[in-house]
């Protein structure tokens, strides 16, 4: 089936997209499409829509684990740094204090843990989302501008099982989608 598609279409397809006016319409359309077996759906929305992850069957983001790992690395790195510089590389007696002790090491350990965990959260988010990415087929939709303003685009992606552009477009139309458009991966865009 996929093979036939690739042969039939001269350009690679990204999917078929339609515009919906409210979050409720969008969620209803997603549920209906998923019931009909459309597994590869995406939505472009101006704000995070409550219930969208569940409707699309998206799994909980694993970023928390990345932040935890980075935080632990930051904390242990900080402890190692303070021990090595203070007790091994450059031991100097200051005010009769021990070269290394846990108590005075707490602030720097904490700060470095937070610093690394924060970077992991933000850079991990960008990596998981494939950003920065300055070109995407979704930008070709004529109503794309509204997806960052007040409308909601629902995309049936072409890599789903048994994808057929005409059938997907028809399904979106019957569910109330406006401006149903087929989006191609590459296109000679007039500048």
């Amino acid at each position: 089936m996929k093979q036939v598609q690739a042969d039939a279409a001269p350009r690679k397809l990204y999917g078929v997209a339609a515009e919906f006016e409210t979050p409720a319409d969008l969620l209803a359309a997603i549920r209906a499409l998923r019931q009909r077996g459309y597994a590869r759906l995406d939505a472009l929305t101006p704000f995070p829509v409550h219930g969208l992850n569940e409707a699309l069957g998206l799994r909980r983001s694993p970023l928390g684990w990345a932040a935890l790992a980075a935080g632990l690395a930051g904390a242990s790195g900080a402890l190692l740094l303070q021990w090595w510089t203070g007790a091994v590389a450059y031991p100097v007696v200051v005010g009769g204090k021990p070269y290394f002790a846990v108590e005075p090491s707490v602030p720097v350990t904490f700060e470095l843990a937070v610093l690394l965990a924060s970077f992991a959260a933000v850079l991990g988010m960008l990596a998981l989302n494939g950003l920065p990415r300055f070109y995407h087929a979704a930008f070709h939709h004529t109503r794309y501008q509204r997806a960052s303003d007040d409308a909601f685009l629902l995309v049936v992606e072409s890599d789903g099982p048994g994808f057929d552009a005409a059938r997907a477009a028809e399904a979106l139309r019957t569910l109330g989608g406006q401006h149903v458009e087929i989006l191609e991966e590459e296109c000679d865009r007039p500048s």
Binding site: H50, S61, L81, A121, V122, F134, S148
Partner: protein, 452 residues
């Protein structure tokens, strides 16, 4: 849809704005022709910023003696200004992170604004210790990086080094948090851009954000994580700043109440600064529908609460000074209230303890001119608090032979004024080029309020 059972509370967005109108109003501020008043304000604050640079240049080329610092008052305006500006920043993180975790929806209209304030305030703060070291070109010695003295490392047992880590982490994480929040709004500006330059600049800054459901899934997790990380971070920063004092053995500084006392004071002064700036921006840009009286009133309530904590801390300091039985402690505090800097002490008490009590009255809490004046007075009071803590504790040493007085020089005064210039200039650039209200968050909040 719009008339679904409205909760009894006052709505947070007035005037029945639709999401499209939110975009138009907020993005419109960035897209309109630069107002004349903006140029006038920018010319003024820009000149003040040049004064700051001139003063710093004079300091670097001449020496630290151009400031009024002396022995015994080795820390004076510089550290006062440092603690003052760091404290201002704390309200931004409190609003963006702590109120987010507590699901306080009213934070949504003001968090972007307050986060910007945090970053600019910390920028101003960082200047002072940097130049107070005397040789700012050696500032990298503060960090554990190899330097020309091979094998020399920072002393990690010193609170001053903790401070370097706390402030630089705080600045970096605040910047990340702010930028993360900005990305979807920058995409909105990119999509609305009419000129090529705007398309390219906002296009690059928005990183190609397209609002995909999968993006939002990771994005919201990243936002939650940063809120969760920033919350203990902001508490740690002013605690560590207070360690600069509390870990020393000086009467007036060596007190276990310092960390919570400093954190409460920081939030107090930060909220005052948010109110000062927000009242002006709301009036000038006509944001009454998005920044409502409820927002302002809530901020005034926070000021009232934290002001009470600060007042309590002042009282406890005196009690402990008496209760400790330590004559040096007793002297330090009596000297604060009755000594040569008593005028500064009583300005502090009047502005921080007495004036905010007016916020008990609803009429004052909801009066824009009244809250503007009170917030200015709180800022004055909180600056004097740091001045009192630092200078009165230092100027009377243990031996009367080592007593001294601090008088600011003209360089001290102009550097302080110049730091306000830098802060306000950065703020003006922010309101001109970036959306000062988080459009995506306001729209999400409106959607959530419609379907509770």
């Amino acid at each position: 849809m719009a008339t679904v059972s409205q909760p009894a509370e006052t709505p947070l967005v007035l005037g029945g704005l639709t999401p499209a109108e939110v975009t138009r109003r907020v993005a419109g501020i960035v897209e309109q022709k630069t107002p004349r008043a903006w140029w006038a304000a920018f010319a003024f604050t820009g000149s003040l910023t040049l004064v700051l640079f001139a003063m710093l240049g004079y300091l670097v080329t001449t020496g630290i003696g151009v400031w009024g610092n002396n022995s015994p008052v080795g820390w004076a305006f510089d550290i006062t200004n440092f603690v003052f500006w760091i404290g201002i920043g704390h309200a931004g993180t409190l609003i963006s992170a702590i109120l987010y975790l507590f699901r306080q929806r009213w934070r949504t209209s003001i968090n972007r604004f307050a986060e910007a304030m945090t970053i600019f305030a910390v920028t101003c703060a960082a200047i002072f210790p940097l130049f107070h070291v005397g040789r700012p070109w050696r500032a990298y010695w503060l960090f554990p990086v190899p330097n020309e003295w091979s094998g020399m490392w920072p002393n990690f047992r010193s609170p001053l080094v903790w401070d370097v880590f706390a402030v630089s982490t705080y600045f970096t994480v605040s910047l990340l948090f702010w930028y993360l929040g900005l990305v979807p709004d920058l995409a909105t500006l990119r999509d609305r851009a009419r000129t090529r330059a705007r398309q390219i600049i906002y296009g690059i800054l928005s990183l190609g954000w397209r609002g995909s459901a999968r993006h939002w899934n990771h994005y919201e997790m990243a936002y939650l994580l940063l809120a969760g990380l920033s919350t203990p971070l902001v508490l740690s920063v002013h605690s560590i700043v207070s360690f600069d004092f509390a870990v020393s053995l000086l009467p007036g500084w060596h007190a276990t109440i310092f960390p919570p006392y400093f954190v409460a004071g920081a939030i107090f002064s930060g909220f005052a600064m948010v109110v000062t700036l927000m009242v002006i921006a709301r009036w000038f840009f006509g944001l009454h529908h998005l920044v409502t009286m409820k927002h302002l009133e809530n901020m005034n309530k926070v000021m009232l609460a934290t002001g009470l904590i600060v007042g309590y801390a002042y009282a406890v300091e005196f009690f402990i000074a008496w209760y400790s039985g330590n004559p040096f402690e007793r002297f330090a505090f009596l000297n604060r209230a009755l000594g040569p800097y008593a005028w500064a002490y009583w300005i502090m008490v009047a502005c921080n303890v007495l004036v905010p009590q007016l916020f008990w009255f609803r009429r004052i809490r909801t009066s824009v001119p009244a809250m503007f004046v009170i917030s200015l007075l709180v800022n004055v009071g909180m600056w004097f608090e740091r001045f009192v803590i630092i200078v009165t504790s230092l100027h009377r040493d243990f031996l009367p032979a080592a007593w001294g007085m601090f008088r600011p020089t003209w360089v001290d005064l102009l550097t302080l004024a110049g730091s306000f210039g830098l802060f306000l200039t950065l703020f003006l650039l922010f309101v001109r080029f970036l959306p000062m209200i988080s459009m995506s968050e306001v729209k999400a909040m409106m959607a959530a309020e419609e379907t509770p």
